[in-house]
């Protein structure tokens, strides 16, 4: 998958411009505050319709502009596809080849892996982020997973709303209604758990065989579904285990006024030598673990599609020393298209036969420079 060309207007501090990218390594250089991460963010918005830095897409509109537009030409196995995201004051439009699509139909066209300092912290500290990494990898393989997640999260919202009522008055009628939502949580939840289990198993397999120098010895990931559901359980089995757990937690859920059982609470653990990296690993090991996880996800993706997603790395030199950074770029550029931002472009060595393009960003204006 290759992003051939990106056009931005009204986006952050970026000047209105079109950028022709290299199918391999794209280096985006610039001092801090000039807009190099904004360019990466624009690619992120094109892929996922939202930013990795803010939840408010309206904040991305350049000061004084009324809307932004990010569009790009995508090359998927020799087929060209035009994607565009437009955001005005009153809403967002997602377009594929010029026609409007809903979010379920838009996402999962430009497939992308990202690596940024912020994410190392999230990977370490936020169970929700680790679940999201798994879910994103999963919906790239099964687009229906996105709808499944949306449906499930609405069930949880409805149930939480009922739990808040139940905390003040708990009658037989409330209990019957909670049963109904619990049944839906168990049904929809079991499907999510099973899909995640299969996916995590595939990523684990890839982690075992990775020999790229970024996998700490004995790195393993584990999916803890409702604490104890076995990865070989059948769908019916998962569903009945969830149901039991829901029944057992009813009282606690009412007391805490929120839903405590289901895949929205599951844990994805990364461990080195059997110790959770969240608590026991050094910063370096945590960074390597996230990278290894990303690379393993890419391999799972490759097995399904025969090509790799594009790879975004923000501020590459802040996280990796020159040697490891170049080692990573060599691994990636043989497989896929890469976008890296850096304030020290001189540290990046050209590979053996790289199709390298370097851009510098000064006050939002991106210029291609010959190297």
């Amino acid at each position: 998958m290759i992003l051939n060309c990106l056009t931005v207007s009204g986006f952050r501090n970026l000047a209105e411009q079109s950028l022709p990218f290299s199918p391999q390594l794209n280096i985006i250089a610039g001092s801090n505050g000039q807009g190099k991460t904004n360019l990466l963010e624009a690619i992120h918005v094109l892929a996922l319709s939202r930013s990795f830095r803010t939840h408010q897409s309206r904040d991305l509109i350049r000061h004084g502009a009324v809307r932004f537009r990010v569009s790009g030409t995508l090359l998927v196995k020799n087929d060209e596809c035009q994607l565009a995201v437009e955001q005005g004051k009153d809403g967002k439009s997602l377009l594929v080849n010029g026609s409007k699509r809903d979010v379920f139909d838009y996402l999962g066209r430009l497939h992308m892996a990202t690596f940024a300092s912020l994410q190392i912290e999230q990977f370490k500290a936020e169970p929700e982020y680790r679940r999201r990494l798994v879910d994103r990898g999963l919906y790239h393989l099964q687009p229906s997973h996105l709808r499944r997640m949306a449906l499930y999260s609405r069930i949880v919202k409805q149930k939480n709303s009922l739990l808040r009522e139940a905390a003040s008055v708990y009658t037989k009628a409330t209990a019957e209604l909670l049963d109904v939502w619990d049944q839906q949580i168990a049904e929809a939840g079991a499907k999510i758990i099973q899909a995640r289990q299969l996916y995590v198993e595939r990523v684990r397999e890839k982690l075992k065989v990775q020999t790229n120098g970024f996998t700490p010895e004995a790195l393993d990931i584990k999916y803890l579904a409702a604490n104890e559901i076995s990865s070989t359980a059948s769908l019916e089995d998962i569903q009945s285990q969830l149901s039991n757990r829901l029944t057992n937690h009813r009282e606690r859920e009412i007391r805490l006024r929120r839903s405590l059982v289901g895949p929205h609470r599951d844990e994805i653990l990364a461990e080195v030598d059997g110790n959770a990296i969240q608590r026991f690993a050094s910063a370096g090991q945590q960074r390597s673990a996230l990278l290894a996880f990303n690379l393993a996800q890419m391999e799972v993706y490759f097995d399904a599609y025969g090509e790799y997603p594009v790879f975004l790395i923000d501020d590459v030199d802040s996280e990796l020393d020159a040697q490891r950074m170049n080692q990573l770029l060599r691994v990636l550029e043989s497989k896929t298209q890469i976008f890296v931002t850096t304030s020290k472009p001189k540290l990046i060595q050209a590979g053996s036969e790289p199709l390298l393009r370097q851009f510098t960003v000064v006050s939002g204006r991106v210029q291609r420079i010959e190297v």
């Binding site: 949306a150 069930i155 009628a173 209604l177 109904v180 939502w181």
Partner: protein, 201 residues
């Protein structure tokens, strides 16, 4: 501050309350109405009032009707042993378009949704239970919308109805999940009716 003369502004405001009408459409409609001959405007106003005054909910099934009971409830040719349960009166049309259903209807006037403060007490369930207790109905088809609120409503009703010894089925979800019966074409709806399955809540 008002942009237009008082009566025009009021007309725009009233039109804007209609479903699917934004400010621009409301303005366009208002200016269209102002240009139409007075007689035409009177016809429209009269039609709205007449509909409002003569249309009511059927006292048996909650369909909207001008005669009570409605024409489905009073039609002797319809099968009184099957009852199709729907969320809204307009859902009846989706089922009727298939021409394959000949039973009776019961409209709940909503679906369970805690987020919107709608529980079983806000739905037309007592009337439904009364009809079922009369003993004529042998099968209930739960045709609430195939989204999570419709599913919750179906599950809840199925638990309520099963103990009465009535067969409970749910229309197959050939209708896209998260969808609305209203927007499904009639082939999809008739497949959904055909493929209805025993429902265990």
């Amino acid at each position: 501050m008002k942009d237009y003369a008082g009566p025009v502004e009021t007309l725009i405001e009233e039109l804007r309350k209609l479903p699917g009408i934004g400010s621009k459409s409301a303005q366009r409609l208002a200016f269209f109405l102002i240009r139409t001959p007075k007689r035409e405007a009177e016809k429209l106003a009269h039609a709205i009032l007449a509909a409002k005054e003569s249309i009511r909910y059927c006292s048996v099934c909650n369909n909207i009707t001008d005669v009570d009971p409605c024409r489905y409830c009073s039609d002797p040719a319809r099968d009184r042993t099957v009852l199709c349960i729907l969320e809204e009166p307009h859902n009846i049309l989706a089922i009727e378009r298939t021409r394959e259903y000949h039973g009776l209807y019961h409209v709940l006037l909503g679906a369970i949704s805690p987020l919107q403060g709608v529980g079983p007490d806000q739905l037309e369930i007592p009337g439904l239970m009364k009809r079922l207790q009369e003993g004529q109905v042998k099968e209930v088809i739960l045709a609430t919308n195939p989204n999570i609120e419709g599913e919750a409503t179906a599950l809840y009703l199925s638990r309520l109805i099963k103990p009465l010894g009535v067969k409970v089925t749910r229309i197959a979800t050939g209708v896209p999940v998260g969808g609305d019966l209203e927007y499904a074409d009639h082939i999809t709806v008739s497949r959904a009716l055909e493929g209805r399955r025993d429902f265990s809540g």
